[in-house]
Amino acid sequence: MGLKKQSSKANQQILKGLWFLMGLFLWEMVVRLQWVNPLLMPSLTKIMKKLIDEIMHGNLLLQAFQSVMLIFLALLIGLLIALIMSYLDYFSEIYRSLFEWLASALNPLPGVALLPIVIMWTGVGLKAVFAIIMHGVVWSLYLNIKTGFNEVDDAYIEVAKNHGASHWQMFHYVLLPNSIQATVTGLRIGWSRGWRALISAEMIFGAISTIGGVGWYLYERRSFMDSAGMYAGVVLVILIGLMVEQFIFDRWLVNLYDKH
């Protein structure tokens, strides 16, 4: 069974690789046969050249680093807030009703829809973008951690109760360790929502600091009609997404979970 799983995983990787290569081949074919205006669809070599050039000589890597750091900071603060909310939710019916109501009202609301209001409160700048990312991050984390807490085996809860565990001890020794998987899922969703929020916010009102992030890069390239640059930015966004998924969520956090 295990072997079958392993070989099926390997097959999946090969198949994904083949699809990827086929996509690249089709792209280049469409460009070379000039089926589409080259301003709409530049060649792969042009895009890669641009990406390398921007990384080596431009600010793109620095812009991407700023974007990723901003989201990680939001995830960290969001995680703390969500843990406090989940703690209060678990032990207090009053807080539960409040947070459930807030989550059901605000979680489906796209961050970009809040942008004009956030700008009124915080002005245009880093604070506004940060607020939008936090909105994308907190609700998914809270809902996932809450689900994790609720799914902890009753037997553990009973044992802890019988030993006279306090709320904090219950939270620290029982609820938290047994809901790491749900927390990781929350972080994963929070990351993708935060990433989307950041890029949209930057593309809507431009640079937010000295160099701006990847969203601003895309906006700027669009203004200068640099199609290859726009695609290069999108490629970088995809690469960062894949790397974070692969190294942070699939390996580091899952290892953390396995240790428990």
Binding site: N37, V124, F224, M225
Partner: protein
């Protein structure tokens, strides 16, 4: 129920690509501002429809910025677009197959601030954000020209720029935000200068060093080849200019509705504040040489290559 059906139908049509340009439709894009006033008049008075003698349907669209106009034209969703000369040249440099068919207007344009302590460009360094429509816009290039002339470095303030359209930029300027200056055009420029505490620190013409056409009309070769429609548009534009001169009262009535301004305010803006409406195209050479020198464009472009006959 009927309205809902119309909405559903239009969504389906939109998704299926049936909104693509059809041959008997002329689609014209404009942006917001007093510089586009002749187009408003042409639209309201139906001059183009009249010149076309019912041969084609005229559709007007208001797009947010020049990038959107370029993209719409590139995907054959647009026949005529109006924009500043610099973003047009950026398109030419990227081999966009378009040329200038006419000038539309010359307009005052200026960098304004509400900060008493800011009196010139040097005072702006590290002071806060500067709002302008987008990188590569005429405002951005004029700012770069002034910085080049006064400080010897055209991109000195680039890291302080924030892309905002004129209404939002103006709100940000007068509100409590990090935006301390805005490079803007009428009516926002005039509104701003009439407001206590707001003053201008850079005039567009001073930055350029000579008069220039603020907005030009451009089209691709495909529309240029449609001689009858092309000529009809230019004739309709001439009629709009003449109408604005001869029928001031009706012009003000039409435009006060479009711009939401009182007629007397609009009258002073249109006829007493250096707004010049005409087809002449000025400043192309100067923009080309500066943008080439500073790397905004990478090819040697000649003025003759960017104008239709």
């Amino acid at each position: 129920m009927k309205k809902m059906m119309v909405i559903i139908f239009s969504i389906i049509m939109g998704l299926s690509g049936c909104n693509n340009q059809i041959t008997d439709e002329i689609i014209i894009a404009e942006q917001y501002g007093l510089a586009y006033a002749p187009l408003q008049v042409m639209k309201e008075k139906g001059f183009l429809e009249d010149e076309l003698k019912g041969d084609r349907v005229v559709k007007w669209v208001k797009l947010a910025n020049t990038a959107a106009i370029r993209e719409a034209m590139l995907s054959d969703q647009l026949d005529i677009g109006f924009m500043g000369i610099p973003p047009f040249l950026i398109g030419v440099d990227q081999e966009m197959p378009w040329k200038i068919m006419t000038g539309l207007s010359q307009s005052p344009v200026g960098l304004i601030t509400d900060q008493v302590s800011i009196k010139n460009l040097e005072d702006l360094i590290q002071k806060g954000q500067i709002a302008l429509p987008q990188p590569g816009s005429i405002q951005h290039i004029l700012l770069a020209m002034a910085l080049d002339k006064q400080m010897g470095q055209s991109n000195l303030l680039d890291h302080q720029l924030i892309a905002m359209n004129h209404p939002e930029g103006y709100q940000a300027l007068i509100g409590e935000t990090q935006v301390v200056a805005q490079f803007t055009t009428p009516p926002y420029l005039f509104d701003g200068l009439n407001t206590e505490g707001i003053h201008m620190i850079l005039d567009g013409e001073e930055a350029m060093g000579e008069p220039f056409t603020f907005i030009v009309g451009v089209c691709q070769d495909s529309f240029y080849q449609e001689e009858a429609s092309y000529e009809s548009f230019l004739r309709a534009l001439d009629r709009a200019y003449i109408f604005m001169e001869d029928e001031k009262s009706e012009t003000l009535t039409i435009l006060s509705k479009s711009y939401g301004l009182e007629e007397d305010v609009l009258e002073s803006y249109l006829y007493e504040m250096d707004m010049i409406y005409g087809k002449e195209v000025l400043g192309v050479e100067r923009f080309i040489s500066f943008m080439r020198k500073e790397g905004y464009i990478s090819k040697d472009i000649r003025q003759d290559d960017v104008l239709w006959d």
